[in-house]
């Protein structure tokens, strides 16, 4: 009986691993297959490259053609990081503020506002691009980085607000009440008490805002002068002809995917340090 129980317990514990392994196997295959190409030389037919080498990674140390001149991948990477981080911060700040308000404050049209956010998601960004272009033009923010960052951020804010609100909802009222009793202003409550408690939420929202700015091509390209160098434009330029160099693309994508993945892992670690508060019921 004991060993049987032990075995069952072991199996039960192993179930998640087995299930996950099965579900992830095809994807792992796909990723590996693709990234193998980055280490191949010349065209690859099938899965395994015939020749192996690092020539596809030359962009790491050699300049890349850009327009009539050159640039380095690091410049493009730097610009992209700047752009994505700014966008991420804007999104996070605004969503955290709005999420808190929507969670705690009672005002008319609250439900409507929430639903409206989702509806706005219905219109694809590319169609909006033309309208946004003219909007920025009249406001004078066209061809300037802050304008584009704002435009990009506002596309992701709707969902961010929903996500943030969810996190704020999970925090019991007592916390707030006691803080207010102690004489904090609402802003202080938000800043000093709530934010630390919703760290996973901040992480999720930030990644969200960051990611879409990281991948964005059409907004950055159309709304900024063509001389601004970002990674997404670089990748797009590899795809323009009908003779695509997949090894180079794979290598570039590998590097391009590293910062978001690193950010994800880093923020997930932050997630695991969630404070455990004791024994209060949900509000």
């Amino acid at each position: 009986m004991r060993t049987y129980r032990g075995l069952m317990r072991y199996l039960e514990g192993a179930v998640p691993y087995i299930l996950m392994a099965i579900v992830s196997a095809p994807f792992l295959t796909m990723y590996i297959g693709f990234f193998l190409r980055a280490f191949g030389e010349g065209a690859v037919l099938g899965i395994l490259p015939r020749k192996w080498g690092f020539s596809n990674f030359q962009f790491l140390w050699k300049p890349i053609a850009w327009g009539l001149g050159q640039t380095t991948m690091w410049t493009a990477l730097g610009n992209t990081i700047l752009f994505a981080v700014t966008s991420g911060i804007v999104v996070t700040v605004i969503c955290m503020l709005a999420g808190y308000a929507l969670s705690r404050v009672e005002f008319r049209g609250r439900n409507f506002y929430l639903v409206l956010q989702l509806v706005l998601h219905a219109v694809p960004g590319q169609i909006l691009l033309i309208a946004v272009f003219f909007l920025l033009l009249y406001v004078g923010l066209l061809h300037r980085i802050p304008g584009v960052a704002l435009a990009r951020a506002s596309l992701e804010i709707p969902l961010g607000i929903w996500m943030a609100k969810g996190f704020f909802d999970g925090i019991p009222w007592d916390v707030e009440r006691s803080a207010m009793v102690d004489g904090c202003t609402r802003f202080q409550v938000w800043y000093k008490i709530f934010l630390p408690l919703v760290k996973p939420g901040i992480a999720a929202v930030f990644i969200w805002g960051f990611l879409f700015a990281w991948h964005d091509f059409i907004y950055v390209y159309t709304l900024l002068p063509g001389t601004i160098k970002v990674m997404s434009t670089l990748i797009q330029s590899l795809l323009a002809t009908e003779v695509i160099d997949y090894g180079y693309l794979a290598a570039l994508s590998l590097i391009y995917a590293v910062p978001p993945l690193a950010l994800f892992v880093f923020l997930q670690r932050a997630l695991l340090k969630v404070p455990v508060f004791g024994g209060k019921g949900i509000g």
Binding site: L45, V105, F107, H121, A122, V132, P200, Q268, V276
Partner: protein, 287 residues
């Protein structure tokens, strides 16, 4: 609070209104426009010159959305719950794996699926089949919709899993421990403690991804282009084709406008189903 309303209104609301206006014109590529009234909408509904593809596109859209949404939600739940039950490092590994689709540029994700299911012996899965001595399968001819559903569904998993696991992490350990002490099995803990506490994120993800699948065309465009022979042409892709291939922005905008209306309707349905009213905790602070 104030800035967020201002920002959204400015950047999102106004462009949306403009798009609605465009739907009433015959704006072409050169961005000039003439007001042609409801002509665009009439074409959609088969009044006057009928558009023969509309019924098929409609069906495709329904199939696709109905297929991809479960993949995302169930997949997201599966990955987040299972990975949180494991050793933290292993869990992190699996979650990262499922986050990869979002970390890759869209064209690469699209290419990955197009290559994996390529109908020659050089496609990834067919290459494996060939190595095993099996004949190749023309995946894109036989099951294009399935491929597209999976590709988009698992892309959705990356976000769903992120949100769900973040939410699970905020569940105080006391709850689960209390349940375990009472003798609940793993499955019961999941079913009766964790999932109910995830109600808001599940609603969010369902509603958001519903919108997403109804409206996004990028990945379908990259993987099948709507083919073969319109087998995967969904509404949003059709609108995009109308707008950008034929440069009939007006018609494209009218398709979009209709889509937005459908979105709103469905959104209300979903929200009702989840009993959102009850979930919106009443604000305790008076303004």
């Amino acid at each position: 609070m104030g800035p967020s309303i201002g920002l959204i209104f400015f950047f999102y609301f106004i462009p949306v209104i403009l798009t609605f206006l465009i739907a009433f014109t015959n704006m072409g590529r050169t961005l000039r426009w003439e007001f042609i009234g409801l002509q665009n909408f009439a074409r959609l509904f088969g009044i006057g010159a009928r558009d023969p593809l509309v019924p098929k596109v409609l069906l495709n859209t329904l199939l696709y959305t109905a297929g991809a949404l479960p993949v995302t939600i169930i997949g997201g739940l599966l990955v987040s719950i299972l990975s949180m039950r494991m050793h933290p490092k292993a869990g992190l590994f699996f979650r990262t794996l499922f986050f990869v689709p979002r970390a890759l540029p869209p064209v690469v994700w699209g290419f990955l699926w197009a290559w994996s299911f390529e109908g020659t012996r050089y496609g990834l899965f067919n290459a494996i089949r060939t190595a095993l001595g099996l004949p190749i399968i023309h995946w894109f001819i036989r099951h294009p919709m399935l491929i597209v559903i999976l590709a988009n569904g698992f892309l959705g998993v990356s976000l769903a899993m992120l949100v769900f696991s973040s939410a699970i992490a905020t569940i105080p350990k006391d709850y689960t421990r209390a349940a375990e002490i009472d003798g609940a099995t793993e499955w019961q803990v999941v079913r009766y403690v964790i999932i109910p506490l995830l109600k808001w994120p599940i609603l969010t993800m369902t509603a958001w991804h519903l919108m997403s699948f109804l409206n996004s065309y990028v990945y379908i465009m990259l993987i099948t282009g709507g083919g073969p022979y319109y087998a995967t042409e969904v509404w949003s892709l059709y609108a995009y084709h109308a707008a950008f291939n034929s440069y009939r922005y007006g018609y494209g905008a009218s398709l979009i406008s209709l889509l937005v209306i459908v979105n709103v309707v469905l959104l209300f349905v979903v929200v009702r189903a989840f009993g959102m009213r009850r979930m919106l905790t009443k604000g305790k602070i008076e303004l």
